[in-house]
């Protein structure tokens, strides 16, 4: 049988999916082993046990200076910034996206401005934000909003425009007002796509979060890895990177699950990644 027609069973698929992960870990372990043979105090590729110990220290042993469990403080602060920023972006995407997509006059007014604004590299605005809002939380959250909202607004507006004209006409012939069309037709049709936009927006949001924390902060996952970089503490940095990746992955899956539960009709056809 041709290879394109062979399909792996569930177990095989799972095993195949594990292969690259296992290969990465094994490769790392071998490289680390040989580096430490030459120099047992090597900091660049610490052993997996050392990373485990460091991670445990961050997660379970109170910091000597502040008495905090650093990993959880960092995680909480970072997720709070990320969550607040994305909540503001989502709200903006919903309000402005629907207005732009549904009402031609609003579209003519705001679409060109938005298209221009979204081309500003957000990170170039960061100094302006720090000057304006100081080095506190507002500047970091504002960076996340500025970095993600324009694209999310545009994709929401596009989702509104993608609603078949037939459905809108049909709603008109059923006697719907503009507001009723928004609540009963546009909003439900757009919400699943807004979740997709949110999932895609989270990718740059993490970048802006870590960047802002690296530049000016006293807590947060990004702050921590850039802080311990001074001591070449790879045993802390690598587990933190894995931890951030895990958080990002779980957030993404959670949103997908919410979308599947709440908008079953949207997932009835073929399903995407």
């Amino acid at each position: 049988m041709r290879i394109i027609n062979r399909r792996p069973s569930r177990v095989t698929a799972l095993a195949l999916g594990m292969v690259p992960f296992v290969a990465t870990i094994v490769t790392y372990a071998i490289a680390s082993h040989y580096r430490r043979l030459e120099n047992p105090a090597d900091k660049l590729l610490p052993s997996i046990e050392r990373m485990g110990e460091a991670f445990w220290r961050m997660a379970a042993v109170p910091d000597r200076r502040s008495g905090d469990l650093l990993l959880w403080v960092d995680t909480f602060d970072s997720l709070w910034r990320l969550g607040t920023g994305m909540a503001v972006s989502t709200l903006l995407a919903l309000c402005l996206g629907i207005a732009i997509g549904f009402i031609p006059h609003v579209r003519s007014t705001l679409a060109p401005y938005l298209a221009t604004f979204s081309l500003i590299p957000p990170i170039t605005i960061l100094p302006i934000l720090f000057i304006t809002f100081g080095l506190g939380e507002v500047a970091k959250i504002a960076l996340i909003v500025i970095g993600t909202a324009p694209v999310m607004i545009r994709s929401t507006a596009q989702a509104v425009l993608d609603i078949p004209r037939e459905m809108i006409i049909k709603a008109e012939t059923l006697g719907a007002s503009v507001w009723q069309m928004i609540t009963r037709l546009v909003l439900p049709q757009v919400l699943p796509k807004l979740i997709t936009a949110l999932r895609l927006g989270l990718v740059p949001a993490w970048i802006f979060l870590i960047s802002a924390e690296a530049i000016a902060s006293t807590t947060g996952l990004g702050y921590r890895i850039f802080l311990v970089r001074r001591y070449l503490a790879m045993d802390v940095i690598l587990p933190y990177v894995v931890w951030i990746t895990l958080l990002a992955f779980l957030l993404d899956r959670l949103l997908l699950l919410i979308s599947r539960r709440a908008f079953r009709w949207h997932h009835l056809g073929s399903d995407a990644l």
């Binding site: 078949p164 004209r165 037939e166 459905m167 006409i169 049909k170 709603a171 008109e172 012939t173 059923l174 006697g175 719907a176 007002s177 507001w179 009723q180 609540t183 009963r184 037709l185 439900p188 049709q189 908008f263 079953r264 009709w265 949207h266 009835l268 056809g269």
Partner: protein, 277 residues
């Protein structure tokens, strides 16, 4: 012209898209309760004509009058519509699709009913569900229905507001022949019962003869081989048909098929799918 009160009156309507004529000097008077079937080659403006009757588009020249008044500027509940696709709301179940108009009417702000009022609205449509054979599918989403079931739902939904005019844009174009016959039955019964005026665009000439009391053929009168876009189409045949299901008129389907391009007649299903215009 105006001696018998006519339901709908089209007065020398022309429609241009970017200066290209699609329809030219269309005149038509339709009495209440007529079942007008509209046929014509692809791209001859049948659907454009229907969209103008719906106020989805507006004539470049001329006027359309409904009950003696100018047609409203936008779609209104007095004209129901069934499209070939996307006629029903994909995010609502069958039952929710049918109570939506009621919800729009009674809940001005949210457009949604809750609790006992929703239950009351749902029990009001039970007979209708039975009638269109969707009782068992009441809680399913349109994506879970067959094409025929979706169009039955679309027709029922379009009639909820009791429109005096029902517009159908190739409603059965994507359905199997057997299902089509059932749909014809349903449509004719509803028409006899409710007495509305129907305009139906179709690619299937036999369907047009079978269902209609009046057959309108759209075609170009003038044709410039050097510039095929130079002239628009108009109504070239306006045939009164006898009561539906008796197609014993002087002009036979095949003659009309000849004038609108035989392809449309020979392979109506394929044709209707590839030419949504």
């Amino acid at each position: 012209m105006t001696t018998p009160p006519c339901k709908l009156s089209v007065k020398s309507v022309s429609k241009f898209y970017d200066g290209t004529p699609v329809l030219e000097r269309v005149d038509l008077d339709v009495e209440a309760g007529a079942f007008c079937t509209i046929v014509g080659a692809s791209g001859c403006g049948k659907s454009t004509f229907l969209r103008m009757l719906l106020s989805q588009e507006h004539p470049t020249r001329g006027s359309i009058q409904l009950d003696g008044n100018d047609l409203p500027e936008e779609p209104t509940p007095d004209r129901g519509i069934v499209f070939q696709k996307y006629s029903v709301f994909t995010h609502l179940t069958v039952a929710e699709n049918l109570i939506l108009a009621q919800e729009f009417q009674t809940s001005r702000l949210a457009g949604k009913l809750f609790g006992s009022r929703k239950q009351a609205a749902l029990s009001d449509i039970e007979d209708l569900l039975e009638r269109i054979g969707l009782s068992a599918a009441a809680d399913r989403y349109p994506a879970q229905l067959s094409g025929g079931m979706q169009q039955r739902l679309a027709i029922a939904q379009a009639l909820i507001k009791k429109p005096s005019i029902l517009l159908l844009d190739e409603p059965f174009g994507a359905l199997d022949p057997g299902i089509r016959l059932d749909m014809h039955e349903l449509l004719l019964n509803l028409w006899r019962e409710l007495g509305m005026t129907i305009f139906m665009v179709t690619h299937d000439i036999h369907e047009a003869f079978k269902l209609g009391t009046r057959l309108l053929v759209f075609d170009k009168i003038r044709h410039d081989p050097q510039a095929p876009e130079a002239f628009g189409a108009t109504i070239t045949y306006d045939l009164p048909l006898e009561a539906p299901e008796i197609s014993d008129t002087a002009v036979q389907p095949d003659d009309i098929a000849e004038t609108i391009g035989a392809g449309a007649y020979r392979n109506p299903v394929n044709n209707s799918q590839t030419n949504p215009s």
